[in-house]
């Protein structure tokens, strides 16, 4: 049975390919770094999409009779967002140093 929620998997694949394309064939460092950010976002969407339970509510405990969406992907993706931001900042600083080195050398 195909429900329209399956489209989120296709969206994740599409954003994955888009981010990969920008990373691999970007002409400057900043485009590669932005592509890396998009690429990471697609992975996060995918992981949280496979954790959703039909008829479940968000994973805050309000009683044993409710069914909850799976909290494990939320935890892993929380760390992934923060780590992605940290690597984005370090990548930008490296790009600054490379540009400055190119200008000082030439």
């Amino acid at each position: 049975m195909i429900n329209i929620g399956h489209i989120i998997y296709l969206v994740a694949v599409f954003v994955f390919l888009g981010g990969l394309y920008m990373t691999l064939s970007g002409k400057s460092y900043i485009r590669k770094i932005i592509g890396l950010g998009i690429f990471q976002n697609s992975i996060l969407i995918f992981y949280i999409a496979i954790g959703k339970v039909r008829g479940g509510i968000m994973p805050i405990d309000i009683g044993p009779e409710h069914s909850y969406s799976s909290p494990v992907p939320h935890v892993l993706m929380l760390t992934a967002i923060v780590v992605g931001f940290a690597t984005l900042c370090v990548g930008l600083a490296l790009a600054i140093k490379i540009e400055r080195g190119k200008n000082a050398g030439s």
């Binding site: 329209i4 694949v13 799976s70 494990v72 931001f85 600083a93």
Partner: protein, 369 residues
């Protein structure tokens, strides 16, 4: 929200996300792609809300939409290279089509959307968290207690990134901290062309007048202000940032403390706390703020130290590393103490780390080399 309605809205936002991604790839200027990146983060945040993930949505909103956009814009301010669109032939896209079709073919084995894959481990957590830990929020319990060691590694990553940026962007230079405004204004070369152009760091009018007369230009101080060569504050921004800062501070503290009973925790609170400092840096560009690198470095280290010392404390009390049951006789109370302590450490590290990162990029854009 019913499942059909939420998946319909999810399909809508997913389609918008694809559209924004295509626009980012085809955009020609750096500024456009940064703003579109923040728009895509916004759509992804709405998708997270529809997929029952409020913690992740809050983190994505604070870090993905606000902080990474401001850091990227500060980077782009000094980046003067012209952006050209890639002129590739269409033959380059064939590997991506092949990869995409392989992934879609592999995706047929996936669970249907709404079944909840990995249910074995999440069943364990959903059933046993109430007995073993006693904290209402499953995400906080897993993040801080069951997988507390992972969170320690992640906090170390933030700390390492902040330290790496301090080393790369000359945070620890003693020459910088002793520079006065006179030497800053005499070093700022109005009209020099380099990859990272000084924006104009002249603070007071006498220094500006002397710098202008030194460089031999005929314009007055007033014309320099009006033509945008010196940064000038906006009165609306000043008033609103000063007004809203206590409320955001209150919100950050609330999210930090109530991370156990509602969506929240250390990461979101730290990012929101850092946004206050970013607001001040943005609203008062003409005021020299005290060089905060030393304080922020100490604060980042103190946060990580609080986290790691909680583990060491449990080892000294006779159990293994990061076992909170050794902290107090009552097990639920002990878990609450342990989770509170490490979330405090995480919040302090994330707040100080993000403030340090933004300050270093801000100084880069202003041209203090």
């Amino acid at each position: 929200m019913s499942f059909e309605l939420s998946s319909l809205l999810l399909g809508l936002f997913g389609f918008g996300l694809c559209f924004v991604t295509i626009s980012i790839i085809r955009s020609k200027s750096l500024f456009t792609s940064i703003i579109l990146l923040s728009a895509s983060s916004l759509m992804i945040m709405l998708c997270y809300l529809l997929m029952d993930a409020p913690d992740v949505a809050m983190t994505e909103a604070a870090i993905g939409v606000c902080l990474s956009t401001s850091v990227l814009l500060k980077f782009a301010k000094g980046y003067r290279h012209a952006e050209e669109a890639e002129q590739n032939s269409k033959l380059h896209l064939i590997p991506y089509f092949i990869l995409g079709s392989i992934m879609i073919y592999a995706g047929f084995d996936l669970a249907l959307y709404g079944e909840g894959a990995g249910s074995y481990i999440s069943d364990y957590f959903l059933r046993h968290t109430g007995n073993e830990i006693g904290v209402p929020s499953f995400v906080a319990a897993i993040l801080a207690s069951y997988r507390g060691y992972d969170t320690l590694g992640e906090t170390t990553v933030i700390f390492t990134a902040a330290m790496a940026l301090s080393i790369l962007l000359r945070g620890f230079s003693s020459k910088l901290s002793s520079q006065t405004s006179e030497s800053i204004s005499s070093n700022a070369d109005l009209g020099s062309i380099s990859a990272f152009r000084p924006e104009g760091v002249i603070i007071n009018k006498d220094a500006l007048a002397s710098a202008l007369s030194n460089s031999g230009s005929q314009i007055s101080v007033r014309e320099a202000h009006r033509s945008g060569m010196t940064p000038k504050g906006n009165i609306v921004a000043e008033v609103m940032v000063k007004f809203i800062a206590p409320f955001i501070l209150f919100l950050a503290v609330y999210i930090q403390i109530c991370g156990e009973i509602s969506p929240g925790g250390g990461f979101q609170a730290g990012a929101i706390f850092a946004s206050i400092a970013i607001g001040f840096y943005l609203a008062f560009p003409h005021k020299v703020l005290v060089n905060p690198v030393r304080v922020l470095t100490i604060a980042t280290s103190v946060g990580l130290l609080i986290y790691a010392s909680t583990g060491l404390l449990t080892v000294f009390l006779g159990s293994w590393y990061l076992d909170y049951y050794a902290l107090a006789p009552d097990p639920h109370f002990a878990q609450k103490i342990g989770i509170f302590a490490i979330e405090l450490g995480v919040g302090i590290t994330v707040a100080a780390g993000m403030m340090l990162i933004y300050f270093l990029f801000d100084r880069e854009a202003k041209g203090l080399q």
